[in-house]
Symmetry: C2
Subunit: 152 residues, 2 copies
């Protein structure tokens, strides 16, 4: 694995998020957790990865406060659940899903669909808006950086 | 690097997106491209990675249709620009940024801020809504899978 510069102290929140989530496997575990999977064996079957890698990823997600463990009803197993911080990754998952739907599927290709349980309606495309509600085009968004000389 | 199962043929658009983007480095390159960086040396300085790794990631992003190259004005250099498909990753970046702002920074900690160029206003939190406009809670969203027996 490529040794990365840690981005933990980066002033950019996106970079810190990427650092905290760790890698794609971790985000696929999060996706499965949103999808209702809770057991080690379920994640393993879904992702098709080695047990030791899955164990390490689950441990990291727990350390980062994204997952938490709880005894299964009945008690023989341990279950993994998303914490509030983990559930807050929902917009990231939705944004990845919409991008994939748009660019990585043929128009008539079968795909899983994200819907609202109560109404059965599809989740609509994410819109980026300012606090006053105006749509923001990517070309119109700028990142105001923390000056290099900033005292902290 | 851990050998991954390819998710290219997965019915889940999120999984395909993760597969297409490749890894965190790639998404950090995309972030820098949104931030206006265009040259190899600029990406290298920003990310602090080895030239061969950066080259490989840039090549992959071009193959995936996320970046494209163009001669720099003047002509001595080559520039990297986001394609339409690349710019469409904007909501993913915004979602990661908001999550980071919320969970990975102390309340008074300095951080870069994403604003709308014209109005100077901050980009507001992403909301997940149904097609009819109702807010969707993560606990209320379900993924309707493609049946295993689906003909395609």
């Amino acid at each position: 694995m490529v040794k990365r510069k840690s981005l933990k102290g980066d002033y950019c929140p996106s970079a810190r998020s990427l650092d905290a989530i760790g890698d794609w496997w971790s985000l696929l575990i999060v996706r499965d957790a949103f999808d209702g999977l809770t057991r080690f064996g379920e994640f393993q079957k879904s992702l098709g990865i080695a047990k030791n890698i899955l164990s390490a990823r689950l441990r990291t997600l727990i350390e980062k406060g994204i997952l938490e463990t709880a005894p299964a009803p009945g008690g023989a197993h341990q279950e993994y659940h998303l914490t509030e911080k983990g559930r807050a990754l929902f917009p990231v998952m939705v944004a990845l899903r919409h991008w994939g739907e748009r660019y990585l599927f043929a128009p008539d290709e079968k795909r899983s669909v994200l819907v609202d349980r109560r109404s059965g309606q599809r989740v609509s495309r994410l819109e980026i808006r300012t606090e006053e509600g105006h749509l923001v085009d990517p070309d119109e968004a700028v990142i105001i950086k923390v000056p290099e000389t900033a005292e902290s």
